[in-house]
């Protein structure tokens, strides 16, 4: 599935958006890092029949529970895929199947093309040591070891020497901002700090795949947001493929390049965040999305429209006017030497000043505008739009990408208000 955006999707009130999502672009071209094919997991009844009498009381119906049935999905190199669903939907089972803490009943899981469902115990250990690491909901720290010893654990299992693993541990702890806590026991740290230890432990082994099972669920809302931002920041620095489990819609939409919604062990929908918002596959997904805040989910890049631009120099008024006319534009941006926006010309201003055609246009350049990153949620700059301020979208290097029209933002806000009306529709049980 391509995470592009389709404009004419019937009654959907969202305005047409250009398919320029950076995330979508990324996912289109790389090879899958993890491939899950038709995965099924049935719990219970693994014992030979002769030993059934030894089982504690359990009635026959509850002895076999399908936690996953026929789930298939791909995770691309460098992507964050979020598994979302209510409790019992199979998301934890799915993430644990990827490092085989849970053994699937049937189906295949390929990591870099290698089927790990049939892997031997030794091969599995090797994979866990080198390729896949994990962060747990309640941190899963070892209370009898210091923070540094916890972070070193994976390296110790890898038989890395004590000196080397200590320096690596300190390096990773520094990355998560806990360098000063190395010699403390986890119990003396706050929840957020403990989870950063858990994250550091997972990062220390340099595994390419990071599995995160509801890592921030146990944290208070402020710490949670802080940790989410930390993860996004680290992600820019470290090229990891992340499978992230959560039951929080906003967390899923904020972090995920793509989000897989699970229901009763099946895949309800798998797509980019805005797809889930704009085109929920069924009532279940729609019901889940009711709690989402589109203003936080939709990013500036999604509303960004291409706009004409000039390079900063000795721009003659006549040239500027011609450019505006040629492109039938109201406004033209002026870019600095690195491609960064420095100001813009507005057509309206020039029409009154026809006779100064040979003069320098610089004096008419307007420098009052707001620049936002493509990844900035709309909610963060909606206020500027309401005040008719011009919003320019730039990429991570600060290069001009396009502009956000106040009308588009207004339409999105209207849709957000509408969708909160839609929320009154019957929920999926």
């Amino acid at each position: 599935m391509i995470a592009g955006f389709q404009a004419d999707s019937g009654s959907d009130p969202l305005p047409e958006l250009p398919a320029t999502s950076a995330n979508a672009r990324k996912t289109m071209h790389s090879n899958p890092k993890i491939q899950v094919e038709n995965l099924t997991k049935v719990y219970g009844d693994e014992r030979p029949a002769a030993f059934n009498w030894l089982k504690p009381r359990e009635n026959a119906t509850s002895s076999r529970i399908a936690a996953l049935s026929g789930v298939s999905l791909d995770v691309n190199q460098g992507e964050i895929v979020v598994l979302m669903g209510l409790s019992g939907s199979g998301k934890s089972t799915l993430v644990r199947s990827i490092n085989r803490l849970v053994t699937p009943t049937s189906g295949r899981i390929l990591i870099d093309g290698e089927d790990i469902v049939g892997a031997t115990e030794d091969r599995l250990r090797e994979l866990r040591l080198t390729k896949v690491s994990m962060v747990f909901q309640h941190y899963g720290l070892f209370p009898h070891r210091t923070v540094a010893e916890n972070v070193e654990y994976g390296l110790k299992m890898k038989r890395v020497g004590p000196g080397l693993r200590r320096s690596r541990a300190l390096e990773v702890l520094d990355m998560v901002g806990l360098a000063n806590w190395a010699e403390h026991k986890p119990s003396s740290l706050s929840g957020g700090m403990q989870q950063r230890v858990g994250l550091a432990r997972a990062l220390a082994t340099d595994a390419e795949i990071l599995l995160m099972d509801e890592p921030f669920s146990a944290l208070d809302p402020l710490t949670r947001r802080e940790m989410q931002d930390k993860l996004l920041e680290l992600r820019k620095r470290l090229n990891r493929t992340i499978v992230f489990v959560t039951h929080d819609v906003n967390e899923a939409l904020k972090l995920g390049d793509r989000v897989a919604v699970l229901r009763d062990g099946t895949l309800a929908q798998f797509g980019a965040p805005h797809e889930l918002l704009s085109q929920p596959a069924d009532d279940y997904v729609r019901a889940l999305m009711q709690d989402a805040n589109p203003m936080q989910v939709l990013k500036a890049s999604m509303l960004s429209r291409q706009a004409p631009s000039l390079t900063l120099g000795r721009n003659l008024t006549a040239d500027v006017l011609r450019s505006l006319k040629d492109r039938d534009a109201r406004r033209i941006f002026v870019l600095g030497p690195l491609g960064e926006p420095v100001g813009f010309f507005e057509q309206a201003q020039f029409e009154r000043l026809d006779r100064l055609q040979d003069g320098d246009a610089g004096q008419f350049m307007c420098t009052k505008f707001r620049a936002v990153y493509g990844s900035t949620p709309i909610g963060d700059f909606a206020n500027s739009c309401v005040q008719e301020e011009v919003v320019a979208v730039v990429d991570e290097m600060g290069r001009f990408q396009g502009v956000v029209e106040p009308l588009d933002v207004a339409a999105t806000m209207k849709r957000a208000a509408l969708s909160s009306d839609v929320r009154r529709e019957p929920k999926q049980t």
Binding site: L54, S133, Y139, G140, L141, F142, T146, Y153
Partner: protein, 643 residues
């Protein structure tokens, strides 16, 4: 199954007969010499004694007395009850063995002895095979270490003589003889519960090994190990008795020209002075009653074969009377009763009609589970005993090391070291408590037994740790094993401790080492439970995390599960420690020395003070061990928690 209808038929006939012959009317009873006076007869724990008491009761009943249900209690308590008037008769008073009890309880002022039911012969016995081969006829020959070594059962090179229960009159007498005959260096006397100890003797005899034990007749043992067929009496060099026993000459200890060293016992009827003085017919009957020794021996053996229920014993008594009817009627007549009159016999108490047997169907049939167990344990003992002996070696070695360490060190050094340790791990309070309690134990003269008990406890706990923690780990990691192990552990912990002893004796023998083994078995369950619990309580995420970072199963165990379960495991060790200390008291019944023996002797001799001091020492040791172990746990937990 086929027998059941027949049985039912005969029961019905019996009930019909009972209805046809009603009990003597109350006025008939009041015209008899007994005048309906209630008689409370009491006996000790042996079933043979109940048989005897039933004969006495039937006689008294025919004289018109109304016997109350038979009382069962220990001899010292029974003698005291007679003196205080809480009981009336004790038809099992053996002289001179019980004479000290008689004196202690008030003597002739409160008690009166009548009759002479049977004679008792006591002495030392060895198996005939060894006696013939080495020409052993006298216990004095055991002075020769080579002869003594023949009877060694625990590997220390000294002969092991099975003595009797601490508190019995024979116990101090055997000690006196050991000194008098100069046998201290070559013979060890094993004291404990005689019945338990003799189980080992029988097992050794089955293995065709030499045996050496104290014995008396009549006792069922005489039917199993028959005189001059299996075993022979040993002579003693000379007769020796403590001065307080009065003058006992060699004639009194002679049996057919051989000096056995023990005055023949006379079984008499001890009664409350008031009761016997006021009831001349009863006193007269009891003074003429005789029971031949061979009859008692036969009865003893029937009891050993499993016919030991109260109704069996009552029936045996009735059968015995029928067999000796003329004699018995003569005794009754002498007691003031016309021969034949009133001897028709009333219904046996308890059976009142068909309704009774419907309401109590258990009276119709008894499934002899006990005999089944006895025979299976017997055969298991026979086959397993040689194999199980391999466990003795390591236990004996560790015990020897620990005990010689504790006993060889100067008491002052032990006292100071233990107190310092207690202070370091549990604080000043426990340190001072340790100092004071050890000092007290030392000054009441119990230092050595206390150290012996400690050595046994420490040895047992060491083996419990070595076995219990791995077992607990196995249970924790395998649900199936846990489901099988849990009811077993429950049973081991709930089973009365005394029940352990006899099988342990049959399988391992008697003495310190089997005592330690019994203690290990008893003290093991809590440690297995706590280890299992501790490991299962380790957070699932920590285990998952270890696994997710590539740990093997054994790495998970050593790096995560055991360190995290350690506080719980230590709590289990603490429990095991206290269980072991408690068990050393019970284990003293199979010839284990230490504080338990002090307590057993005190209780057996009605020496309240002695038992209390022993008990106090146990309590002090228990508190000391518990607090110190808790201190060690706390230190470990703090280390765990870090800052």
């Amino acid at each position: 199954m086929r027998q059941r209808p027949k049985r039912f038929l005969s029961t019905a006939v019996a009930i019909g007969l009972m209805i046809a012959c009603p009990a003597p009317a109350a006025d008939t009873v009041s015209r008899l010499p007994g005048q309906g006076v209630v008689v409370r007869t009491g006996v000790g724990p042996l079933a043979e004694e109940t048989f005897q008491a039933e004969i006495v009761n039937i006689g008294l009943e025919r004289l018109g007395y109304r016997p109350a249900p038979i009382l069962h209690m220990t001899y010292p308590l029974l003698v005291t009850a007679l003196a205080t008037g809480d009981a009336d008769l004790m038809p099992v008073f053996v002289e001179p063995n019980f004479t000290p009890l008689f004196v202690k309880a008030g003597g002739d002022a409160k008690l009166r002895k009548v009759g002479d039911l049977w004679h008792e012969v006591s002495g030392f016995r060895i198996d005939k095979r060894t006696a013939d081969r080495y020409h052993i006829t006298n216990i004095g020959q055991l002075k020769d270490p080579a002869i003594a070594a023949l009877f060694d059962s625990d590997g220390d090179g000294k002969a092991d003589l099975v003595g009797c229960d601490p508190g019995w009159s024979c116990e101090p007498l055997i000690e006196r003889q050991m000194d008098a005959y100069g046998l201290r260096n070559t013979v060890t006397v094993k004291k404990g519960n005689y019945a338990a100890l003799i189980a080992d003797t029988l097992a050794r005899h089955q293995d065709r090994k030499p045996i050496l034990y104290f014995a008396w007749e009549p006792f069922w043992l005489g039917e199993v190990l028959k005189t001059d067929r299996d075993v022979v009496w040993l002579e003693v060099p000379f007769t020796t008795y403590p001065p307080e026993a009065g003058t006992i000459t060699a004639e009194e200890t002679d049996l057919n020209g051989r000096n056995l060293g023990y005055a023949h016992g006379h079984c008499r009827v001890l009664g409350g002075k008031t009761f016997l003085d006021h009831n001349p017919p009863a006193a007269r009957f009891l003074s003429v009653l005789r029971i031949p020794t061979e009859d008692l021996l036969r009865e003893s053996y029937r009891i050993k074969q499993g016919e030991d229920k109260p109704e069996n014993l009552r029936k045996h008594a009735e059968q015995w009377i029928v067999a000796h009817q003329t004699l018995f009627d003569g005794w009754l007549a002498e007691a003031g009763m016309a021969a034949g009159a009133g001897t028709t016999g009333g219904p046996t108490p308890g059976a009142r009609g068909v309704l009774q047997s419907v309401l109590n169907p258990f009276s119709l049939y008894t499934f002899r589970l006990d005999t089944a167990i006895t025979s299976s344990v017997d055969s298991a003992a026979k086959t397993l005993r040689p194999f199980l002996q391999i466990f003795r070696g390591p236990v004996a070695w560790v015990l020897l090391q620990v005990r010689s360490l504790l006993l060889a060190a100067p008491p002052l050094a032990v006292l100071i070291l233990v107190s310092l340790l207690a202070w370091r791990v549990s604080g000043v309070g426990v340190g001072i408590f340790s100092l004071l309690s050890l000092t007290l134990i030392g000054f009441v003269g119990l230092w050595e037994p206390a150290m012996v008990s400690c050595a046994i406890v420490v040895t047992a706990v060491m083996f419990c740790i070595a076995a219990g923690i791995p077992l607990g780990v196995v249970c924790a990691r395998n649900d199936r094993i846990e489901r099988v192990a849990r009811p077993l552990l429950d049973a081991m912990q709930t089973l009365p401790t005394l029940v352990y002893l006899v099988p342990v004796v049959m399988l391992f023998g008697i003495g310190e080492v089997p005592g330690v083994i019994a203690t290990i078995i008893y003290a093991l369950p809590p440690l297995v439970r706590f280890t299992n619990l501790g490991i299962r309580q380790v957070s699932g995420e920590a285990v998952e995390a270890a696994s997710a970072f590539g740990s093997t199963r054994s790495q998970i165990l050593w790096e995560v599960q055991i360190p995290l379960a350690l506080p719980t495991i230590m709590a289990g060790v603490n429990q095991t420690l206290l269980f072991a200390l408690g068990m050393t008291v019970i284990a003293s019944m199979i010839a284990v020395p230490g504080l338990g023996l002090i307590i057993l002797q005190g209780v057996g001799r009605l020496d309240v003070g002695g038992a209390a001091v022993g008990g106090l020492a146990i309590v002090l040791l228990a508190i000391l061990l518990d607090r110190t172990a808790q201190g060690i746990q706390k230190v470990m937990r703090e280390k765990e928690a870090g800052h």
